[in-house]
Each structure stands twice: as C-alpha cells, then as structure tokens.
C-alpha cells in the first residue's frame, strides 16, 4: 500500500501530466501532417520558441499568465509567416521536400534562439506553488494546474473540431482540400491559419512544461522525436489517436523510469515504436493504407 501511494500513484500522475502536454504538441503535428502532408521537423523548435517567448514576456510584464496568452500568439505569428514564405510554394511537391525544408527551418530557429538568448539552461519559476494532499499523497499544485489546463485545452479542441464550422472546415480540408477549394472555401487561408494554430499549440506546450523542465535551445530536438512517435502510434493524421497515444507514451515513460535507467526507458520506447511500425504501421486509429 505504501508503494502504491508513495511511488506508483505519483509516477502515474506524472505520466498523465506529461502525456497531456505531449498531446498538445502531437496534435498540432498530426493535423499539419493530415492537412499539408508535411512531417514538420521544425515543430520542436516552435515548442522551444514558446518557452523563450514566455521568458521574454515574463521579463517585461513579470506575469506568467500574460506570457501564457502572449507567447503562443507571438509564435503563431512566426509560424504563419513561415508557412506563407516557405511551405506554401511546395505543397504540390513530394512530402520529402517538406521534410527537408522544415529540417532547414529547424536549424535556423534553433541557432537563432541560441544567438538571441544564449545557450545556457534557463528556468521559469512555477506561477503556482505549494502542494495539495491527494489520495493520501501530496502532489505539486503546478503539475495539477498543468494537467487541468492541458485537459481543458484538449477538450476545447475536440469541441472545436466537432462542433464549430471552422473546425469542420479544417477536417474537411484534411479529407480532401481540392474538393473544399471547389466548394469555395479559401483553402490557402485555412492552411496558414491551421499552421499558425499548430505553432501556437506547440508554444503553449513549451511554456506550460518550462517550469517542470529546463529551457535551452536544443530542447525541441528530443521532444520532436517523442512527438513523432506519438503521431505514428496514434495513426498519422488521426487527431483522436494522437491524444490517446500521447497519454500512453507519457504514462509508459514515467512507469518505465521506475524500474529502468533513462537509457533503457528510451530504448524501450523506441522498441515499442519499431514494433508498431512493423506490425501495424497505421497505429491506433490511422486510416488503412495511408502511406503504408
């Protein structure tokens, strides 16, 4: 019982918290993949920029809450400009070009951040301190806030995609952009706005996780691999699948780390991934035949 409450339960909650934030990151990635056919290698850098933009805004306003609104907007604008300038001309080309182009963009963003903010590790202080007694243990308030905020956001996104006209238009564009164009929707604008929104989501995830993790220019490199894994596991282009997979990976990672060193955890996660790609490449909820 002590083991359950003292070790297993907190770790399970850690996994849930991380999974929720990972879900925000992966959701943007999978929507962009479904919509544009681009595996966005620069997504991790948008996540990183979110944390740095947060630090910058906090430096001016001394408020985490203002940063939580302002940073995603700033990064969203950067993403929109990037999409219009670089991605828009290559939609008609092979997905390979998108992969390579975004790899170049990632280099630019990463090095740009290092030039502006330096290569040191930085920290953001959690805006919510203290801890709450919960189910016989005590759990940090900030992590509870993080879990609540991410879950509410995921719920809001689900409502957006199922209940609003704009969300349905985006889903229609994922299905068949050409047909949507024919129906008179400005598909280009849908692409740009969706890319901006996915960047803003990544930025939000970056800022929300910053008080738990450290902020440094390379922070996106490791997260993007995990986000890729989530997207494949969930089924490329499937939003629901991504969210489920994010929780699975988040919880698996924190449970594995109870019994294994970080090396074995990473290898175990990669192993799961390889297995999925070989046995069931469309993941949990992917459409059959998509890029198999």
């Amino acid at each position: 019982m002590d083991y359950l409450v003292g070790v297993l339960l907190p770790q399970l909650l850690h996994g849930l918290v991380f999974g929720a934030a990972l879900g925000l990151l992966a959701l943007g990635l999978t929507v962009i993949f479904g919509l544009l056919g681009v595996m966005n290698f620069a997504h991790g850098e948008l996540y990183m920029l979110g944390a740095y933009a947060g630090i910058a805004v906090i430096g001016v306003t001394h408020s985490f809450w203002v940063a939580l609104i302002a940073a995603p907007i700033l990064v969203g604008v950067v993403a929109a400009v990037t999409e219009m300038a670089t991605l828009r001309p290559i939609y008609r080309r092979e997905p390979l070009y998108g992969l390579i182009l975004t790899f170049g963009l990632a280099l630019v963003f990463r090095e740009g951040a290092r030039q502006i903010w330096g290569g040191d590790m930085r920290r953001i202080l959690p805006p919510v301190t203290g801890s709450t007694p919960l189910l016989g243990m005590t759990y940090p308030n900030y992590r509870l806030f993080l879990l609540a905020a991410s879950s509410i956001l995921l719920l809001a996104l689900w409502l957006f995609f199922t209940r609003t006209r704009a969300g349905i238009v985006v889903r229609a564009a994922v299905q068949d952009a050409q047909m949507l164009d024919g129906l008179g929707v400005n598909v280009r604008r849908v692409f740009t706005l969706t890319f901006a929104a996915s960047g803003a989501l990544a930025a939000l995830a970056g800022l929300l996780l910053a008080p738990i993790f450290t902020v440094y220019p390379q922070m996106g490199v490791e997260m993007i691999l995990l986000a890729f894994i989530v997207v494949i596991l969930g089924g490329m282009g499937s939003m629901g699948g991504s969210v489920i997979a994010a929780f699975v990976i988040g919880i698996a990672q924190s449970l594995f780390s109870l019994w294994m060193n970080p090396q074995r955890v990473a290898i175990a996660i990669f192993g799961i991934m390889i297995l999925v790609l070989i046995v069931r490449p469309r993941g949990f909820l992917g459409r059959e035949g998509v890029l198999e």
């Binding site: 182009l101 170049g104 280099l107 090396q263 290898i267 790609l277 070989i278 890029l291």
Partner: protein
C-alpha cells in the same frame, strides 16, 4: 577507367595532385580530408535516396558505428588501418542487415522514420554505456598504422587514405548504378508495384541497396577517427543524418557526383562561415530552404525533379 569515364579520371587526377598545390598547409589538407569524406558519405546515401527512392534518416548510425568500431580497436591496441576498417564493415554490416530487413518492408515516410528510430536506439546505447565512454565517447586515440611500422601520422597520408576511399566508393557506386541491379533499383524508385509485377523480388533489391549504402558509409565512419582521434555519440545523432541529406540535396539527387560536390560545398561552407561568425547554422539552414524552394534539382541535378512516384501513389 571505362567504369569511371574520362571526366571522373580527370577530376580524380586533380584531387590526387591537390597536395602539390603551393600553400597547401596542414590545415587545408585536413579540411580537404573532411570535405572528401563527407562527400563520399553523401554519395553512398545517394545510392539509396536518389536511385532507389528511399530516404534514410538514419545514416548517422552507420557512420557512427563505423567510427566506434575503429575507435574500440585503436583503444585496445589494434592499430592496423585494414583491421579497423574490416571490423567496421562487419559491425555496420550486421546492424545494417537488421535495419534493412525491417525498414525496407515500408516505404516513404515510414522508411525514413524507421531508420531514424533504429539510429536513435544505437545513439542512446552509446550515449549511456560507460564502457564506451558515455557521452564523451572514446577520446585520445593513437595513430593507426598502414603496414606494421608505417604509421598513418601525417595529414598527407590521411588525405590519400580518404582519396582512395572516395575513389573506391565512387567506382562501386558507378558499377552498381550501371548494372542490371542498379536499373532495377531505378525501376523500383519510379514504380515499385510495377517492378514487383514484372517479377522482381523488390524487397531483396531494396535490401541490397541499403546494405551497399550502409557499408560504404560505415567504412567512411571507420576512417574518421584515424584523423580526429576520437569517436563520440554525437556522430550518430539524427541531426548528423540530416546533414548527409542536406549534402545530397545541395548537390543533386540521383547523380552520384552531385552529392560529392554537395558534401564538399557543405564542409567548406561550414568551415568558411564558422571562421567569420558563430551562427553558421542559420546560414546552412537558409541555404537548405533556398535550395528546396528554388533549386530542387540541386547544383548538379540536371535530371528531372524526383520521379518518386511511390511517394505520390502512397499519399
């Protein structure tokens, strides 16, 4: 000679004479070493990317494993260049057999991601295994020996080693591309299903291309510690694989010569830009973006833009 064609013979003759250029300092010889090594690896990748239509995001693992194979032997007192390279071929070959078997069962982005994840497993293993130095890697290696008593100690000897490697790798690639096997690879790139309907065992051909490309890359990796005197896990990081892909793209996909030029260009660019400013990655990233947007055929890619029908068919 006939395999290479007269233009290649001229270029290789010029490269052989490069150390005779007045003012060729130790620094420039080693820079030439790096440039040719990078070019040769990009060329090996082109065999897979440009000719077979499989984009590997895991070539850094072949490269890094080759480097570790040499470093492990040098550290334990085996100094022969040839023993080191043979060991690199065995190690990389075994690993490539596993990767190729599983990865070639998938196409397009799935192939890219499978190779990427396999490479990350290898990276993680070396990054955290203290027997092989953990994150520091294996440092301070002694010089290798070409023959017993003949050390590979001067930049000139090292340059010629990499020259011979490039020459041999180029000859292998040319022979492969010109052979029946190579033509089937192109057929697979253009339309994998049709190649299968024609009765070719597509999986076996793709595996063959993977193995040749991986082993050539592994030999290049095996040569690297003979110049740098170290092998670190960073050689296996996926960003390194990205740099190989960048070189292929800069030079021109499916041309063999193009990626060599791309690799040389990339190395010189990195060296030149980094000696002026420390934000050379911004320049490299922008060069990549500009090439994708405006010169998708690369510097030497005179052929049509990617006949990657399978990317389309599967999309």
């Amino acid at each position: 000679m006939r395999v290479l064609g007269w233009r290649a013979v001229v270029v290789f003759a010029l490269l052989a004479a490069l150390p005779l250029v007045p003012g060729m300092s130790r620094y420039y010889l080693l820079l030439a070493f790096d440039a040719l090594l990078f070019g040769a690896i990009a060329m090996s990748l082109d065999l897979l990317m440009g000719y077979t239509g499989l984009v590997s995001f895991g070539h850094a693992a072949f490269y890094g494993l080759g480097a570790y194979a040499t470093a492990i032997l040098l550290e334990r007192g085996v100094q022969s260049v040839w023993a080191c390279l043979a060991f690199a071929v065995v190690v990389v070959g075994l690993y490539a057999l596993v990767v190729a078997y599983f990865a070639t069962a998938r196409r397009g982005i799935y192939f890219a991601l499978l190779t990427l994840i396999f490479a990350e497993v290898v990276y993680t293993f070396f990054r955290y295994t203290q027997t092989f130095g953990g994150s520091d890697g294996i440092q301070g290696l002694p010089d290798a020996t070409i023959l017993p008593g003949v050390p590979l100690d001067t930049p000139l000897k090292k340059y010629y080693l990499v020259f011979v490697y490039l020459l041999a790798a180029y000859a292998v690639c040319r022979v492969v591309v010109a052979s029946h096997f190579g033509r089937v690879l192109v057929a697979i790139r253009e339309n994998e299903d049709r190649a299968r309907f024609l009765g070719y065992n597509v999986a076996r051909y793709k595996m063959g291309a993977c193995m040749i490309s991986a082993i050539l890359t592994g030999i290049g990796g095996g040569i690297y510690p003979m110049r740098s005197a170290f092998a670190t896990p960073d050689l296996m990081l996926w960003t390194e694989s990205g740099e190989f892909i960048i070189s292929v793209m800069i030079g021109g996909l499916g041309t063999l010569v193009g990626p060599v030029v791309g690799g040389v260009f990339f190395t010189l660019l990195r060296d030149k830009v980094s000696s002026f400013v420390d934000w050379y990655f911004i320049v490299i990233g922008l060069v990549l973006v500009v090439i994708v947007l405006f010169m998708p055929r690369g510097l030497l890619g005179y052929r049509k833009v990617l006949g990657f029908s399978q990317w389309r068919a599967s999309g």
